[in-house]
Symmetry: C2
Subunit: 385 residues, 2 copies
């Protein structure tokens, strides 16, 4: 297998976008990524998107987005793994370049979520859970993650305040990210008194509904060295795994096995261990998710994720900065684009382009992207050459 | 890149299936493919499915189907390219094995289409067209293909009878396929007098709404030689391309450029030319599609596809047998599964397991799978070792 690098990144401003449609916001991100890479052509493209069929009545994104990007007859494949769709797009593009079949491949992600009503968006997102055994009975994601939170509090003494500290930290980082949907800070009291969604999760524990797209350009290392003017960021390894789609079918509610296995695979392929990672972007769809994932990636012992965030260990400047971009919480969560935006933050940090949220001396970063209640997960580990 | 072979194939009976759900029919096909390959574990899985979100309210098939297949933590990626979803699943699995990352990978496809009403199915399928510029104005696929048929008749003198001959031939083949949804013959008069759908296309010019799944197991050639007890079928090459998603944006209505380019790429990679192909499975979603595709793959000069089918050149025993399985027309068209079922027919023929529909001396087969009105296409060329 050939070594693979990311040589270009691009994303527009995320938020509630009324003047552009799905195809427009995707093409904006792709053009920015091509411009960043200094090229105007690629061999192939992968697009992660969760459910454009339900959100905007449009499938066949491979054809649509290659068409509107204007690269004639470009092979383009849409991939889907619920909220980990971006992560599987990155993995798929990685494998195509690693195989030697293509030298330059775009991995992108897009979701246009605000064109449908709130009820419809909740239904669309719930199709990532088990339709027959969870959704039919009324379960939606805030409820599923609330059960994980309650159990984590029961087993490990995690506090309501510790959940809130995740939101406070991520909004503090997101306030420094001009692309973020909600680039403002929130206070502990603000989170604790925000409207209840599914006890114990309040509205400021939840990632928002977002329109957005993100793209990166991958190249084999030789091509990257030839054309890349910026520091080259290598993808050292990835891991991908699934778990039972339904939460009730798992041994534990406080462990995400797909994340544990995907991380093991990524660490092994990259030749790294948790203590080698300088910073990470993780899937904080709800505040409890970041706490559990920070344990399952091996950054903290099981049950210690809550105290770690309270103690500031995951802040910029802490032991292991997490979600320097603002995370899903503040940056936004256009589900299919999230995994790619995580990779963009890793690249920005490793290039030293992260501005006010720069992690000093960052050499190795990790991105963890998750679908459903943890039914699928990808982990990518990157290093600046 | 490593050489890649298909070592197992599996599909159940296709049709209107009321007693099993999407997960059940997929697992049946996957288990049959594993059994045919003589293995009980794989490294990874790809699943092609067009729009399970709209058909049955379920996305995140990667997690769901790996879960129900029972291979713990299996990496599984759903891919989508409308009706070419199966073809892109096959391509994606090919690249993962070719890269050296995995030795054994399932490429599958599934669609459960009959759980929603006819109106809803028409809407769901139309999401493969351009929602904003085609569907919004009332266009659906029978209408789009009818325009292609009218123009082909105008430019090349293709007759209404020649369209009907495609259906007659494919049903004759499908009558010998025990997995086919409609395993019976139809007559020329029967097709010509069937109910009108979109002039000149009648109901027997159209592929049906189908529930079905199909799976193949891919292995690198060394692994294949070690474990495969049946003749080994190598994938010599593939091509993948897109075209404008909207029909009105193309230079010609009687040429499918994504097919032309995908075929060029596949022929080049395989080191073959059209005259080397012994038989082919092509995407006959409507009878006109088979005629145009048979020209664009290089089997007949442009405009001669109609006379060729009338003269029997695409029958079993003819110059180039096309759709020996019965094609989408008779076998059925569960959209995400079709590309994989085409590969299964190629393997069955190359192994000499095709029974009453066996093409004598078949050594090299081609499968062409298409999305939308030709907005995306994959072509795979296979040879028996």
């Amino acid at each position: 297998m050939r070594e693979v690098a990311i040589i270009g990144v691009g994303m527009g401003k995320w938020g509630e976008i009324w003047n552009d449609s799905l195809r427009d916001i995707y093409v904006e991100a792709a053009v920015l990524a091509l411009k960043d890479a200094g090229i105007d052509k690629v061999d192939s493209m992968y697009v992660g998107s969760m459910t454009p069929g339900l959100f905007v009545g449009q499938e066949h994104l491979g054809s649509l987005l290659a068409d509107y990007l204007g690269i004639k007859n470009l092979p383009c494949t849409r991939v889907e793994s619920a909220c980990a769709s971006g992560g599987v797009a990155l993995k798929s593009a990685f494998l195509e370049v690693a195989s030697g079949y293509s030298d330059l491949v775009i991995a992108g992600g897009v979701e246009k979520m605000t064109d449908c009503s709130g009820d419809d968006a909740t239904y669309a997102l719930a199709t990532a859970a088990d339709q027959e055994y969870e959704v039919f009975h009324g379960a939606t994601f805030p409820g599923l993650y609330a059960m994980m939170a309650r159990r984590h509090m029961f087993e490990y003494g995690t506090t309501r305040e510790q959940l809130a500290y995740v939101a406070v930290k991520n909004h503090k980082n997101g306030a420094k990210n001009p692309k973020a949907q909600y680039p403002f800070e929130v206070t502990l009291e603000g989170v604790m008194s925000s409207v209840m969604v599914a006890d114990p999760l309040r509205i400021l524990d939840c990632s928002p509904i977002t329109d957005g797209a993100a793209c990166v350009v991958l190249a084999d290392l030789e091509t990257a060295k030839r054309i890349c003017k910026k520091p080259i960021v290598k993808i050292l390894g990835f891991g991908h795994a699934t778990d039972t789609i339904a939460l009730h079918a798992r041994e534990s509610l406080t462990r995400l096995d797909a994340t544990i296995v995907a991380a093991e695979r990524a660490y092994k392929m990259a030749g790294k261990k948790p203590s080698d990672i300088d910073f990470a972007e993780v899937h904080d769809c709800f505040t409890i998710a970041e706490i559990i994932v920070s344990e399952d990636l091996g950054f903290f012992e099981k049950g210690k994720g809550g105290p770690a965030v309270e103690a500031g260990e995951t802040q910029i400047g802490g032991k292991i900065p997490i979600n320097t971009s603002g995370g899903l919480k503040s940056k936004g969560h256009p589900v299919g684009a999230t995994g790619i935006a995580q990779a963009i933050e890793i690249v920005s940090q490793l290039r030293g382009e992260a501005g006010d949220r720069q992690v000093k001396g960052a050499k190795v970063g990790l991105a963890q992207n998750m679908g459903g209640s943890g039914g699928s997960c990808t982990v990518h580990i990157m290093e600046v050459v």
